[in-house]
Amino acid sequence: MTGSTLLEDHGDALYAFARSRLDNDDDIQDCIQETLVAALKGASGFAGRSSERTWLIGILKFKIIDLYRARARELKNQSTETNADDDYFGEKGHWEMTRAPQAWEKSPLEKLEDDELRQHLYRCIGRLPSAARAAVISRELDNEETPEICKRLGISATNLNVILYRARMHLRACLEAAGFRGAAIG
């Protein structure tokens, strides 16, 4: 087992995994590189209970978590706001007409391939503040449970709910802002 062979055999899979969780190439490269180094160092510990790729993805996942931890200070200093401009509702608590969800059904959205929409989503996730990004990735992509995420991010369950709520509002609006608008009839 060498770094080059691991990179040849699993580089694309590691890249795809990291790409959906990190928003810049430098971080992606660092995490993949550290993953391969850790794999080479711990190769003797690979018991073969899972596939080599699953094992590498497992290491990469922890490298990404380490990166989030390294940014813990940023997380703590951030409020739960995703965007100052998130006044989706009017005084009475109903949708502001200019920000209300548009119909997607008759929009190009339906015609787009899922992977294209996914790329837009990843870009929108990349624009979230670190706290929201980490929460969305842990919850939606990694399907982690609330206590696990709260423990890692050092936040309460209520705070996590607020962060996820605002992040989801932002993601939906971000997709519409990216051009996913349809007829106003739904």
Binding site: G3, S4, L7, G11, D12, A13, L14, Y15, A16, R19, S20, D25, I28, Q29, I32, Q33, L36, V37, Y88, F89, K92, G93, H94, W95, A100, P101, Q102, A103, W104, D114, D115, L117, R118, L121, V136, R139, E140, L141, N143, T146, A157, L160, N161, L164, Y165, R168, M169, L171, R172, L175, G186
Partner: protein
């Protein structure tokens, strides 16, 4: 004892909060009825829920494997040799 909110007249803001929270924990029976009632009368919240569900489904599904950029592959290869 907290006063129960009426079954009708839910605000969109509360609907969206409950809908998002519903992905984390179960929604009470009463709130489900309130949401159902609101959904009947509010097209925007119907869209919101459908769009949120679609976004979640997409994120949960496996992304297609994209090729690592050649420059990144070369850099990693070079760094691994060092």
């Amino acid at each position: 004892m907290a006063e129960k909110k009426p079954l009708t007249g839910m605000r969109c803001e509360e609907f969206t909060q409950l809908a998002s929270g519903g992905f984390e924990q179960p929604i009470s029976f009463r709130n489900r009825i309130r949401m159902l009632w609101h959904k009947i009368e509010c097209v925007y919240c119907r869209r919101f829920l459908a769009q949120l569900t679609r976004i979640r489904r997409l994120l949960i599904s496996e992304p297609p494997v994209k090729a690592m950029p050649a420059t990144m592959r070369d850099k990693i290869k070079m760094n691994l040799k060092d």
